[in-house]
């Protein structure tokens, strides 16, 4: 079982899609890291196996604030983050979670600032390997999910009823007529936004552009995957392909993220790809924390 040191943090992630060999992509990224653990493979009936690898990014830059340590550091309770001397200099070791499933590879790190550096390095290392990044058209997603904020994504192979539901929504407002900003941003979060009147009210101008004189644009969207009504995983994304997720102990949610993306992919026209590194346009999502529930 995977044991990320910083499992209680919100991870910043991106999802890569390759036309070629996903294993090669994961391996290329893995080469930028240290202390690679043995990969774990999770298989299930009717789905592609998910391979998750845990390793560490060595950084001289400190991204964390407090240092957590047991009274006596042991194998089970290490000092977090660990440190390592590399070429005579002390480096902090930060978790890197790398998961692949089919042609998709997901990379996740526990600090946004670390992602800003590492994801650019990874992109450079992957040059020429025909890698693009997945992103979601969140405006279209809000429109397709409608006021209920729910979509049934069960497939013929699903043994359970699978649903996508909204858990976070940030809307930007602009008034092309008055040019004023009486209202600029509305942010909602909750277990199931579609069940609230307020969500239904605020998304109406997105679903029907004639409903308001204001231009309303979703800039962040959080969504969860429910199996028979039980929440299995969740993530938040922006318009550029940046994801925030809580990985939890054992990192099971990383594996489930693929199921979540698969579910979203069943909604037509939502998923697209870009050659741009998403983290380079991540101002909106930067401070987002994902819930642990």
């Amino acid at each position: 079982m995977l044991k990320p040191d910083l499992c209680s943090r919100t991870y910043t992630a991106e999802v890569l899609r390759t036309k070629g060999n996903a294993e090669l992509i994961a391996d290329t990224i893995g080469r930028l890291t240290t202390e690679r653990r043995s990969p774990e493979q999770i298989t299930g009936p009717g789905v592609d196996p998910v391979v998750i690898m845990h390793s560490f990014i060595a950084s001289q830059i400190r991204f964390h604030r407090p240092v957590r340590a047991g009274a006596v550091p042991t194998e089970e309770i290490p000092v977090v983050p660990r440190t390592k001397l590399i070429r005579g200099k002390e480096h902090y070791l930060y978790d890197l979670l790398l998961a692949r499933c089919g042609l998709d590879v997901m990379v996740a790190v526990p600090f946004h600032a670390l992602a800003q550096i590492f994801f650019s390095q990874a992109d450079r290392a992957l040059a020429g390997k025909r890698v693009v990044y997945e992103k979601l058209d969140i405006t279209k997603m809000v429109m397709q999910l409608g006021k209920s904020g729910v979509a049934d994504v069960s497939t013929s192979e699903s043994r359970r009823k699978l649903e996508i539901g909204l858990t976070r929504c940030q809307l930007s407002y602009s008034d092309p007529e008055r040019r004023s900003c009486d209202l600029q941003l509305v942010s909602l979060s909750g277990a199931h936004l579609g069940k609230t009147d307020v969500y239904q009210y605020v998304v109406e101008p997105v679903i029907d552009s004639n409903a308001s004189s204001l231009a309303v644009t979703p800039v962040l969207l959080g969504f969860s995957l429910y199996a028979d009504g039980i929440k299995k995983t969740s993530a938040t994304t922006d318009r550029h392909g940046n994801f925030k997720l809580w990985v939890g102990p054992g990192a099971t949610r990383v594996e489930r993220l693929f199921a979540l993306l698969d579910g979203i992919e069943t909604i037509e026209g939502i998923v697209s790809t870009t050659a741009n590194v998403p983290i380079l346009q991540s101002r909106t999502i930067e401070g987002v924390e994902e819930g642990q529930e």
Partner: protein, 689 residues
């Protein structure tokens, strides 16, 4: 501090041999070497396309073995398209330029160049194999794009018009022929513009012939006819000159590059075709947004059917809720947007080119951008946003033509008609008795009222003027209109620019204005005029009474001057302005200006148009906001090919301006950033909004 700009240069060694090099030496060093060695030199700046945040620019590939030129029409999107295909070392070998050869890749072999060519939107490729950095002209490989756009419109020439017209007409058609050929390859979306120009030329010739053939003994009529003929000839001369500029600037730098040097000596190798395309796309973007509602039609069809009670007494003017941007009743439709559909029908797109001599300037059929935008667009003084002001002038000219009937179709001798005077007199003498006037008439009255008030404000009197002094005769009115018409037009233009282009971002607008104005002579000689325009524009839409509106605008201006000074832009004008803010003459002129711009706000603001200009629903970098500070485009992000990323040139330029003023640009190389901005804007589709 790193320099990211490189220079691709070419020295002739005679007998078809050229020494090719890429260097990071400044152009002055290149020129000095050429002068010392008494050799010829052709060069152009080239810019590494793929930068990494926080890292130095890629090293110049050594030795130079080949250069492949790609003539992509949408280089921003093509850089995004080829990026996943490029190996790490290839990423460092790709450059973008400001010429028609918009992307180049060095040290790739021919087969690789041909493979990359297949990914480009336009397949023309020119390949220079080099032996010890020497190019043998016979070895140049050119692969053409088999696809060619064509214009379907048939142009029928009108020859034999006599020497007075033939000199211009011949040049116009010759330019159209040259441009048609070039545009089929490099700017197919502009073929329609050439057709429009041909139709316009035809109309002007017909008008000239009609007036010329008319025989009259009446002296006034004969004089008037002569004036109209001169106006037509002048228009043809303007068209002819503008098209010539387009030929020399827009077609040079095409393939074969060795045979097509640019007239711009500092871009002599690859030309400025890409930058010119950017300026044109910027113009077309605004034109297409405005085309949704033809201002002339709105005035002539819509405003003639609606009546309104207009404030007359400027001395008592108080503005109010009706003029506020943030009105209490948010759901009332703007006057300009109501009353049916009025799309533009037969508009002639503005010819757009660069001019060192004219700088940013507008005329009937053309817009010029200062040549400085080729090298310093990223500086507040030379931002492309200044172009929006010039484009607004064109729209305002149409508004004035509609209000005062002085277009090509009108045949009259005086500036104002007798009817204009009578309408104004009746309204002016009613002193705001609540009488309703047709909206078009009320607007022209407001302009004339402004002109009269400006006349009075120029000479402040301590005692109230007598009744006789306040009376206005037709000749007084015409003279006042003649003296202050340009001021009135400027207020219209400022409102349009502030509201539509700058989305009412007051400090950004004011800083942008004054950064560009200190670089030209006029504000030094007519400072009060320029100061008052600024204050009135920022005050408009507040709904405040004159005193607090003036105070508010003064605060905004003071803040903006500080922002400019903090970002390194200084001028003695700034201190002079600060002292003028307490000058009673400034306030006296502010009042009528505020009055007029408020009326413009009330009757020319348009949600339909501003929504199209903002493009928030399509622009992925806007993040749902018109604010320049939240715009997320940056130099590490490329156009997304699948959806042909839509970038609003206005929002993009504003964000760049905002970043350069706040010192937040990720690199400090102004030439690189300038070239990036022009490359991104040049890649926008025509008529996207």
């Amino acid at each position: 501090m790193h320099s990211f700009t490189r220079y691709l240069s070419l020295h002739s060694r005679g007998t078809g041999q050229f020494v090719v090099s890429i260097s990071e030496a400044t152009p002055f060093e290149l020129l000095q070497d050429a002068l010392n060695g008494v050799t010829d030199l052709r060069y152009s700046p080239v810019f590494p396309a793929y930068l990494t945040p926080g890292q130095a620019p890629p090293a110049i590939p050594e030795p130079l073995k080949s250069v492949a030129f790609f003539f992509a029409r949408f280089p921003y999107h093509m850089l995004g398209r080829i990026k996943p295909e490029l190996a790490p070392d290839e990423l460092d070998q790709v450059y973008f330029t400001q010429g028609l050869a918009s992307i180049l890749c060095v040290n790739c072999d021919l087969s690789r160049a041909l493979a990359l060519r297949e990914l480009m939107d336009h397949k023309l490729l020119e390949y220079w194999p080099l032996q010890d950095a020497i190019l043998q002209s016979d070895n140049v490989v050119i692969e053409h794009d088999p696809r060619k756009a064509t214009s379907t419109e048939k142009i029928v020439l009108q020859p034999g018009l006599g020497p007075e017209l033939d000199v211009y007409v011949e040049q116009i058609y010759a330019s159209i022929v040259t441009l048609r050929h070039s545009y089929t390859l490099f700017n197919p979306e502009e073929l329609n513009t050439l057709d429009s120009i041909a139709r316009l030329t035809d109309r002007l010739i017909t008008l000239y012939c009609e007036v010329k053939q008319r025989h009259t003994d009446a002296i006034e009529q004969a004089l008037n006819d002569s004036k109209r003929c001169h106006a037509v000839v002048s228009a043809l001369a303007e068209l002819s000159a503008s098209l010539s500029y387009l030929v020399t600037q827009g077609t040079s730098g095409c393939s074969p590059i060795l045979a097509n040097p640019s007239p711009f000596p500092h871009f002599s190798l690859l030309g400025v075709g890409g930058a010119l395309r950017a300026v044109r796309k910027f113009t077309r973007y605004l034109e297409s947004a405005f085309s949704v509602r033809d201002a002339s039609e709105v005035i002539e069809q819509g405003y003639t059917c609606r009546s309104v009670d207009f404030p007359v007494r400027i001395s008592l003017y108080e503005s109010g809720d009706a003029y506020k941007f943030s009105a209490p009743d948010q759901h009332v439709q703007e006057e300009f947007d109501s009353g049916g559909e009025f799309p533009e029908k037969d508009d002639v797109p503005l010819l757009t080119y660069l001019s060192l001599r004219h700088g940013f300037k507008e005329s009937k059929f053309a817009i010029t951008a200062a040549t400085e935008i080729l090298t310093a667009e990223v500086s507040p003084q030379w931002t492309m946003m200044t172009l929006s002001h010039e484009i607004m002038h064109n729209r305002v000219r149409l508004i004035f033509q509609a209000l005062f009937g002085s277009g090509w179709k009108h045949d009259r001798n005086s500036v104002l008609t007798a009817q204009h005077f009578l309408d104004f007199k009746d309204w002016y003498e009613s002193r705001g008795a609540g009488k309703q006037y047709k909206l078009d008439c009320a607007l022209s009255n407001a302009i004339l009222n402004f002109c009269c008030a400006m006349d009075r404000a120029m000479e402040i009197k301590q005692i109230r003027r007598s009744v006789d002094e306040r009376k206005v005769s037709q000749s007084d009115l015409e003279e006042a209109y003649g003296r202050h018409k340009l001021r009135a037009m400027e207020l219209f233009v400022h409102f349009h620019d502030y509201y539509f282009a700058y989305a009412c971002q007051d400090r950004l607008y004011t800083t942008s204005l004054w950064a560009s104005w200190i670089a030209v002579a006029a504000p030094y000689s007519r400072l009060i005029d320029y100061l008052v325009r600024t204050l009135a524009t920022v005050a408009c839409g507040t709904g405040l009474k004159c005193d607090p509106a003036f105070e508010h605008a003064s605060e905004v201006l003071a803040d903006s001057l500080l922002i400019l000074e903090r970002s390194g832009v200084h001028s003695p004008l700034f201190d002079k302005m600060r002292t003028l803010l307490s000058d009673e003459k400034v306030y006296a002129i502010f009042k009528p200006s505020y009055y007029l711009i408020d009326q413009v706000r009330r009757f020319f603001a348009s949600r339909d148009i501003s929504k199209r200009i903002d493009g928030l629903d399509k622009d992925p970098f806007a993040e749902g906001s018109t604010s320049a500070t939240t715009y997320s485009a940056n130099i590490f992000v490329y156009g997304e090919d699948d959806q042909r990323t839509f970038v609003s040139p206005i929002r993009f330029s504003l964000a760049s301006l905002s970043r350069s003023m706040s010192g937040q640009s990720p690199i400090k190389d102004r030439r690189w950033l300038t070239a990036w901005n022009t490359m991104v804007i040049s890649s926008q589709g025509a008529n996207k909004c």
